[in-house]
């Protein structure tokens, strides 16, 4: 079959979903809409990771990020029954100054990316297979063993902290 640029099509579709979801995140006033938009971003990013050869990281992205962290967000939103933001009464400094600066930031970032990264290189599916669970696991448990263990302590601290913070005071 003549080459359908499948990689590029997939990328564009997923990028469109991601950017669309991200925009939705920003413009929606109700947090639950934002949260689900973020889930959308994460899942499309997970598929992009797959295209980049990160099988393990893609699965973890869905399981941990979309499946655990964002569920926690949704859970809290539901628990607090948080309503939509009230409309803005006056233009704040952060909006007035932030939006133009943001555009400047984006253009600066794009400028650097286009200038620094050689355009010749491309990503094709299967071009890198070092992201298998085995490879990641080996790296984690050899070279990155200490950081790995440290993160486990971090998680433990976070668990305790979360419990202490969220626990209702017992009178």
């Amino acid at each position: 079959m003549p080459s359908i640029p499948l990689d590029a099509i997939l990328f564009l579709v997923l990028a469109a979903i991601a950017v669309g979801s991200a925009i939705n995140l920003v413009v929606q006033t109700h947090p639950i809409n934002s949260a689900l938009s973020l889930v959308g971003v994460m899942i499309s990013l997970a598929v992009l990771y797959l295209l980049l050869g990160g099988e393990f990281i893609a699965a973890v992205q869905v399981i941990v990020y979309a499946g655990a962290i964002m569920v926690l967000f949704v859970f809290v939103i539901m628990l607090l029954n948080a309503g939509a933001e009230r409309p803005r009464t006056r233009l704040s400094f952060s909006v007035a100054a932030g939006v133009p600066v943001l555009l400047a930031f984006l253009s600066a970032a794009a400028y650097f990316i286009l200038k620094k990264v050689p355009p010749a290189e491309g990503v094709t599916f299967g071009g890198f297979t070092g992201g298998s669970p085995r490879a990641v696991g080996e790296a984690l448990f050899t070279r990155y063993l200490l950081p790995f263990e440290v993160t486990s302590i971090l998680i433990l601290i976070a668990i305790i902290g979360a419990i202490v913070l969220a626990m209702k005071e017992i009178d």
Binding site: S92, F93, S94, A97, V101, A104, F105, A108, F112, K116
Partner: protein, 622 residues
């Protein structure tokens, strides 16, 4: 390695255990840890010394680099042992053990919470042992200084042990402040040594000291030695810094015995003897040391003759004996000085412990005028005190006789005048010690308490010390120390010995005459020599003179100039000025710190963009 570090480590451990957990312990447990740690330390000293004898050269153990700064300053945590150290180690841990045992009996009935701070007392005492051992074992001046300051701290803590008593805390503060002067001199000396020799290790310093040119010796080494002497005078209560030691008797009696008689106050002597290679190159400084020693000896002895508080008498006796030791060092007989340190530790510790036993028996009575006739009531205490008094009076072949004799012979060798003054002082010493003994144990009982003999934990150390006071002189310390401190000047003239023994006996006789045979005589004398007596009785008004000359001006100057003038005017003015300027600037800057996190984020972003732009324009992105 002989694990020297274990010697101070045991008391430190005892300190930590008792200091941290002691509050929860029973008295028995506190005693166990306190005494046990010191005894272990003593045993370890014995074991170590046996293992490394004959110890003809310095034995050093390096543990870790303590301070390293640049190429020049490199101070290790080193402990070392030589023969001089070995004597001190045995005295400190041996006497220390005895006094610890004694203290468990003496401190057993303190009123107040936690048995009157029983655990606190013993943790301080152990801490003192730790610092004292560091001081003795140190292989360089800085580590020695650590121990030096540490024992000072413990001395302060223990003098003020009865901190509810104003006089006790005042005495503690006095000791601390007076010692500061000495320590200041000592630290200056250390700086000079470092500048001159580039090192603080004893070995390196002493090795270089001999090779210096004469003009250097005349200047720097003399200055160094004088400054060292200032330090030693502070710690060892020499003129003019002796004033703190009599007041230090506010502390519990075991403290007086251990710290202010047997060990800490002799640290100055030890330090001078340790620095002998330096002093040997500074004859002027040595002369100063000898004169100060002699002056102290005489002055303290005269004051001692008129005091009525039993502990004060012994305190002035201590000052006086310390003067003897410095006299020995000053005339070059360091080994005689150390010899006297040891024998003095025996009999003076015994004197204090005996006095403690008397005080204990009389439920806290310290005034000699309220004692008397105790001979039959507390016979063990009497006998042991008798031994100590014999020893200090220089009765032949007691320990005091042996060491004092060495000193006087050396003094005669140096200058006959010093010898004669020394002999007179010895006579006075005999007089006031026996005066105390007679007032306490002879005649009629003049007090109101019901004396009882002390328990075995008190009398046992007394017995051991009595034995040491009588026979301790046969440890021939000068011979043992020859490889370290050189040979004492020879010339054993029997005439000199007879003179000094006679002086002692005359002193005893006079005391007997004044206080046993003709009890009215002292008052007659006091009336006849009223001016002199008042002067001496009031300790030459030294405290009052210091108060008028130094303390008042300093306090007043501080109040008017430093406090009202400088502090309020300048310092506060600057502080307030800084405050108001800060407020002003902050008032402007606070608009940035509006508390709106999103504004912060926007500014952060702006910063990021500016950095990116800067990088782009300066061509950072190639």
């Amino acid at each position: 390695m002989h694990q020297l570090w274990l010697i101070p480590a045991f008391p430190l451990l005892g300190f930590l255990i008792n200091g941290i957990f002691g509050k929860k312990f029973s008295k028995r447990a506190v005693s166990l840890f306190a005494v046990g740690s010191v005894l272990l330390s003593f045993l370890w000293v014995v074991k170590t010394l046996m293992a490394i004898s004959p110890l003809e050269t310095l034995y050093t153990e390096h543990y870790f680099t303590w301070i390293a700064s640049g190429a020049a300053l490199n101070i290790g945590f080193d402990l070392s042992v030589d023969r001089l150290t070995s004597v001190m180690l045995l005295v400190v841990t041996g006497i220390g053990s005895l006094i610890h045992i004694y203290a468990t009996g003496y401190m057993a009935h303190e009123p107040g919470p936690n048995h009157g701070g029983y655990y606190r007392f013993f943790s301080y005492l152990n801490l003192f042992m730790f610092f004292m051992l560091i001081l003795v074992l140190a292989a360089n001046y800085l580590l020695l200084f650590v121990g030096w300051e540490g024992v000072g701290l413990c001395s302060y803590l223990l003098i003020g042990f009865y901190f509810v008593k104003k006089s006790a805390t005042n005495a503690g503060i006095k000791a601390f402040v007076v010692n500061r002067i000495g320590d200041f001199g000592f630290s200056l000396a250390i700086f000079l040594i470092f500048i001159q020799f580039g090192s603080l290790d004893f070995q390196k310093v002493f090795a270089q000291a001999g090779g210096l040119a004469d003009e250097v010796q005349a200047g720097v080494i003399t200055a160094t030695c004088l400054l060292l002497m200032v330090g030693a005078a502070g710690k060892s209560a020499q003129v003019p810094l002796y004033v703190w030691l009599p007041d230090a008797m506010e502390g519990p009696t075991p403290v007086s015995a251990l710290i202010h008689a047997a060990t800490m106050v002799t640290a100055g002597v030890y330090m001078v003897a340790r620095s002998a290679p330096l002093f040997n190159h500074a004859p002027i400084a040595m002369e100063v040391v000898a004169v100060i020693g002699l002056l102290t000896a005489v002055m303290a002895a005269t004051i001692g003759m008129t005091q009525n508080d039993i502990k004060k008498v012994y305190a002035y006796s201590t000052v006086s004996q310390l003067g003897y030791m410095f006299l020995a060092c000053g005339v070059g007989a360091y080994s005689a000085g150390i010899y006297h340190v040891m024998t003095h530790a025996f009999f003076k510790a015994l004197l204090f412990l005996g006095a403690g036993s008397v005080i204990h028996a009389l439920q806290g009575e310290q005034d000699l005028r309220n004692m008397g006739g105790l001979r039959s009531k507390i016979p063990v205490t009497f006998l042991t005190l008798l031994c100590a008094s014999l020893a200090i009076a220089g009765f032949p072949y007691t320990s005091g006789f042996m060491s004092k004799d060495e000193i006087l012979v050396a003094a005669h060798h140096h200058s006959p005048a010093m010898f004669w003054i020394g002999v007179i002082t010895a006579s006075m010493t005999a007089f006031y010690v026996w005066r105390a003994l007679f007032l306490c144990f002879f005649g009629r009982y003049r007090g109101s308490a019901h004396p009882h003999e002390s328990p075995l934990v008190i009398t046992l150390p007394l017995g051991v010390l009595a034995l040491l006071s009588i026979l301790g002189g046969f440890f021939r310390v000068p011979v043992w120390l020859e490889p370290v401190l050189g040979k004492a000047p020879e010339g054993h003239d029997p005439a000199l010995v007879i003179i000094s023994v006679a002086a002692g006996l005359i002193g005893i006789f006079l005391a007997w005459l004044f206080y046993v045979a003709k009890p009215g005589l002292p008052d007659t004398f006091a009336r006849a020599l009223k001016g002199l007596y008042t002067l001496v009785y009031n300790k030459y008004f030294v405290d009052e003179a210091y108060d008028a000359v130094i303390i008042r001006p300093v306090v007043d100057g501080s109040r008017t100039v430093l406090w009202k003038g400088f502090d309020v005017g300048v310092v506060d003015g600057i502080v307030n000025g800084v405050g108001s300027v800060s407020r002003g600037v902050g008032g402007i800057l606070r608009t940035l710190q509006g508390g709106s996190i999103r504004n912060y984020a926007a500014l952060t972003l702006l910063g990021a963009v500016l950095v990116l732009a800067a990088v782009a324009f300066t061509g950072g992105a190639q």
